[in-house]
């Protein structure tokens, strides 16, 4: 098993590499560089790093201004704050205005465990999905997060990237190609289609190993692009698994990937659907393992939902 690393660090390692070739790449943060990972960029390119202080509205607004004079700003804070407090600026000055600003929300889901519920972003996917013109990305591991910088740069327009504090093993390789808007198949099976995003993809891969030992052959689909969603591949893969699907996300059960996948399947017959997500509760402090157990986001929880849809 590979070394465990966090997506928040993978993304900024990728951004540093991108910035070597592109002078218009800047990073902007709101005094959380050591938490979001942007301090990695600050060390490499101090003259292209802007810290606006603890002011998330201004973080987004200043980034819009930079973009309006030809800079490509990647602005970051913990997702709770940049998406929450920055939302209306993101809505009007970025998404409505179709401005080339990249937004990075770190500490998503409940695995920013010790910080407690105030810092755990569970509604960011729903909020960002709801905005026209917004692309929503959620890499599953360090290797994939690293590639996101150039994917975001190549797409002219608003992008939200969701990163995680939790170090996890890589389930994708450095050589894997990723395409914005395309689902990524990590494992081919026939009994159940497990669709996951972010860290949950790593847990889904672990779940598939449990299931394999029980004779259940799972397909694993990683969704690194939540919007636009690759609904065509999702339909094909789910149908190939007899309509059995489990969707996994480290986000609240409303408005995130699960509902997006469910929407894409409503016109299909004989779908058996299960969801592994946070069940409409806020997070709390605790050791990561304890929190994941408490909130039912574990490989075993995924395997259990998979068994249920298989034996439906």
């Amino acid at each position: 098993m590979s070394e465990k690393r966090a997506t928040r660090h993978g993304f900024y390692d990728g951004l540093v590499a991108l910035a070597r070739d592109h002078e218009d790449v800047y990073a902007v943060d709101a005094d959380l560089g050591s938490a979001t990972g942007s301090s990695i960029f600050q060390k490499a390119f101090p003259e292209r790093y802007i810290d606006v202080g603890i002011a998330e509205q201004n973080l987004v607004g200043i980034s819009v201004g930079l973009a309006r004079v030809g800079i490509v700003p990647f602005c970051s804070s913990m997702a709770v704050f940049v998406v929450g407090r920055g939302f209306e600026i993101i809505r009007n000055a970025v998404a409505y205005s179709r401005i080339n600003v990249k937004i990075i929300g770190s500490h998503t889901g409940i695995t920013a465990a010790s910080d407690g519920g105030s810092h755990q972003a569970i509604a960011d996917l729903a909020a960002m999905r709801a905005l026209p013109n917004m692309v929503v990305l959620s890499p599953c591991d360090y290797n994939q997060a690293k590639k996101m910088a150039s994917v975001m740069y190549s797409h002219e327009g608003p992008v939200y990237l969701r990163t995680s504090r939790e170090p996890v093993e890589n389930v994708t390789s450095e050589e894997d190609e990723i395409t914005l808007g395309r689902a990524q198949k990590l494992r081919s099976g026939k009994d159940v289609c497990i669709i996951a995003t972010g860290m949950m993809t790593v847990l889904a891969v672990r779940a598939s190993q449990i299931l394999e030992s029980e004779g259940i052959d799972a397909t694993i689909i990683n969704i690194h692009t939540i919007k636009p969603l690759d609904t065509e591949s999702i339909r094909e893969e789910v149908i190939a698994c007899k309509g059995r699907v489990v969707v996994c996300e480290e986000a609240n059960m409303f408005g995130g990937l699960s509902e997006a996948v469910a929407s894409s399947l409503v016109e299909e017959n004989d779908i058996v659907f299960a969801q592994v997500a946070i069940e409409d509760r806020f997070g709390q402090s605790g050791a990561t393992a304890t929190i994941l157990e408490e909130y039912g986001v574990t490989p075993e929880a995924i395997a259990q939902k998979a068994r249920r849809v298989v034996h439906h």
């Binding site: 003259e47 606006v52 202080g53 002011a55 200043i62 930079l66 004079v69 000055a93």
Partner: protein, 272 residues
Amino acid sequence: MERVGALQEKARQIRIDTLDMILSSGSGHIGGSYSACDILVALYYDVMKISKDPADPDRDRFVLSKGHANPVLYAILMDVGYVPKTAKNTLRQFGSPFQGHPDSAVCPGIDCTTGSLGQGITVGVGMALGLKKQHGSQRVFVVTGDGELNEGVCWEAFMAASNFELDNLTIIIDRNMIQLGNNTEKLMKLGDLRGKMESFGFMVDEIDGHDFNALLPALEKKTVGKPHCIIARTVKGKGVSYMENNVAWHGGVPKGDQIAQAYAELGGTYNE
């Protein structure tokens, strides 16, 4: 003072065009358009380096943070040739470049989409910072309302403007003393606005915002290492007596005899 006389005449015409547009639309914010009119005229027809091509990256940038005053800006954008005059009667209509609040995606010459108060200031600060980072000589001018300063993001942005020593940035506060619901000092008092701006690190000038002799030197001024703030004392509805200093004319549209009186006082005629 031929220069000032020409600007006064231009401002008179722009006020008439603004009235034409608001009447044809049946809605729009005339009071705040008229309080800001002379500031915008001084900028577009004298102080700012503009270009025939609105997409020219080397021109100075203008942000109407009080986006609801857009009819006066639209009148100017047509007059300087950024938008065809055929758009004049399309204010707030479907498919128009003249959206209810300025939208840079559909209207040439709009440097920043605004309408959500406070946003033009934070974006203007980002534009000035970005231009400085790229060693550009362009200046950024932001016109904000006074009621708009209730928004907290303005003060985040002001702090950043002085922190980053944005001497290419000029914030002009259209100090007409009236916001939508009441006098600014009765609704949410701004108090010692000059003192507030100075304490936030701005070089501050306080002038008559309808006097071109005061506007021109103030707008031209730059102080090395400091952003500039002009508190422009203005009259909401300036130019039409029954609108002046009257809270009812934040968003009102003249009707009946008011129409003829407005044109008469502005020295124009109403072409229905």
